[in-house]
Subunit: 300 residues, 2 copies
């Protein structure tokens, strides 16, 4: 059974499953486990790892349209190193501060592989689900897509060329601002929302499944990060990176057209309209062609 | 740097560190990572693992005197097995139900070693800390101590003798009721509280450090689980198991003498008075002899 099948199995078991975070009693809660082999390429600093791991959970809070309250992390390594641990905590704390949450520590453990489990908590009385998108709504994306794809490629190049400045740039690309403020801007208006951590294409398929709708996306409206163009071989490959790689932690949301200006005025990041919600019979298309359900599956 | 040194380092960094859970904004939050090699002996069922892992975090919520609201778990295995995953979720859910919390799922991950990271959340406006014990207060313990020590020994015997019924008994001993209701009973009165997960002796040293006090404990008042006597060689070894092994998830609390009856009347489990808080100059003693700071360090 692969991870997606296991997730599907759990959705039948747990009422709270199926959104980016579970909503319970005015809170949203989300947890993620990341580990060295699959999530932190060689050259990732512990500062970046702390930022990214905690940021990933804060992104799930943002995707529910909630305020971010607090985050914790369990940090496991083969052997504790003072500077690494402090750098991790600093990254975790700074990403929390950026979105108004408090980093309140966690657990330490010895483990053969560097492994981090993070949990973030937010507050909202009216969480935004993945279900609820209606034909005619606009499809919106925050920020730009492809930063993590570009970062991963730069980590590889930095490794091959043993280039410290490339490695630093890759680390920069691996840190991101969780879209808590944009999520709050979307919250009163969005009909459906999630984050793009599995890639835009897969996110659209997941929203379509939950909302029973289709999407008509225009490729020239997809906001591609500049860094992608430095590593991609042409515009077509850049679009491929931006739509399928994922791990970008931007928000994908659907809103009625008349709410767009209100959302944009409350958001601290650019919001691109990349297409429209259509009837489920019309499928999920990019420039009129079917957009496959391809993307990053965590842990693969 | 070992785990205790790393924890001490973090206490300087994080204002919220040093109690069983972090208190933030009317909530308490706690996270734990457990893994196969050190936390789940051969023969531990996934049902027991789910119960125990989530129960450990709920115990930390209880130790703050908070109501338990919700728990999540990140579940990582080399390969997903449907029955194992469902058994884990059932254990996690049942321990939550037992204390009135909601199990709201979590994350799945592939990992070479079975690893679980759990987070529990509770609510209280007035968390009970480890600091605050005053000379003259009574030292109380919930339930009985030594169940996990006995369970571990039975897992070993079950392995040697390939005995399924011994294994089942060991699993029973490895599941426990998190003391949320007792923690709520202590909350209005306790001057200091924590859980006994590192063993009674170490817990007393931690409380003494945080409260700047000493303890005079009477060995014949320490509540030893019956199961310990089945595996210990005599009363002296039984006491050793009960005071130093830990992993029992009972509460250790200090209360003014006149509050004892009120606490007992609200608790659903027996509360033993094992001694008294004394001046820090008088140290931590068991039957008048110094009680060493020995116990289980997680991850060792």
């Amino acid at each position: 059974m692969d991870e997606r099948a296991a997730l599907a199995l759990l959705e039948g078991e747990l009422a709270a499953a199926g959104d980016d975070a579970a909503a319970v009693d005015g809170l949203v809660v989300t947890t993620d486990m990341l580990h060295e082999r699959t999530d932190f390429p060689d050259g990732t600093t512990r500062y970046t790892a702390g930022w990214r791991a905690v940021g990933a959970s804060l992104s799930d809070v943002a995707a529910m349209g909630a305020d971010a309250t607090a985050a914790v992390a369990a940090y496991a390594v083969p052997e504790f190193d003072r500077d690494e641990l402090l750098a991790f905590v600093r990254g975790a704390r700074e990403v929390c501060e950026l979105v108004g949450a408090e980093y309140v520590g966690g657990d330490l453990d010895e483990h053969e592989e560097f492994t981090v489990a993070t949990t973030a908590i937010g507050r909202t009385d009216d969480p935004v689900r993945r279900s609820g998108a209606e034909p005619g709504d606009l499809v919106c994306v925050t920020g730009t897509l492809g930063r993590s794809a570009a970062g991963l490629e730069l980590f590889r190049r930095a490794d091959r060329e043993d280039d410290a400045s490339l490695r630093e740039r890759a680390n920069d690309l691996f840190r991101f601002e969780p879209r808590v403020r944009a999520g709050r801007a979307f919250a009163p208006h969005a009909t459906a929302m999630m984050d793009s951590s599995d890639g835009l294409a897969r996110s659209l398929h997941q929203l379509a499944g939950a909302s029973n709708c289709g999407f008509a996306i225009e490729s020239d409206a997809v906001p591609i990060a500049d860094a992608v163009r430095d590593v991609a071989d042409g515009e077509r490959e850049a679009l491929e990176y931006a739509t399928t790689f994922g791990e970008d932690f931007e928000l994908v949301a659907t809103v009625p057209e008349d709410a767009l200006e209100a959302v944009r005025s409350e958001s601290n990041v650019a919001i691109s309209v990349i297409g429209a919600v259509v009837d489920s019979d019309d499928g999920i298309t990019l420039d009129g062609e079917p957009l496959a359900d391809r993307g990053y599956t965590h842990g693969e």
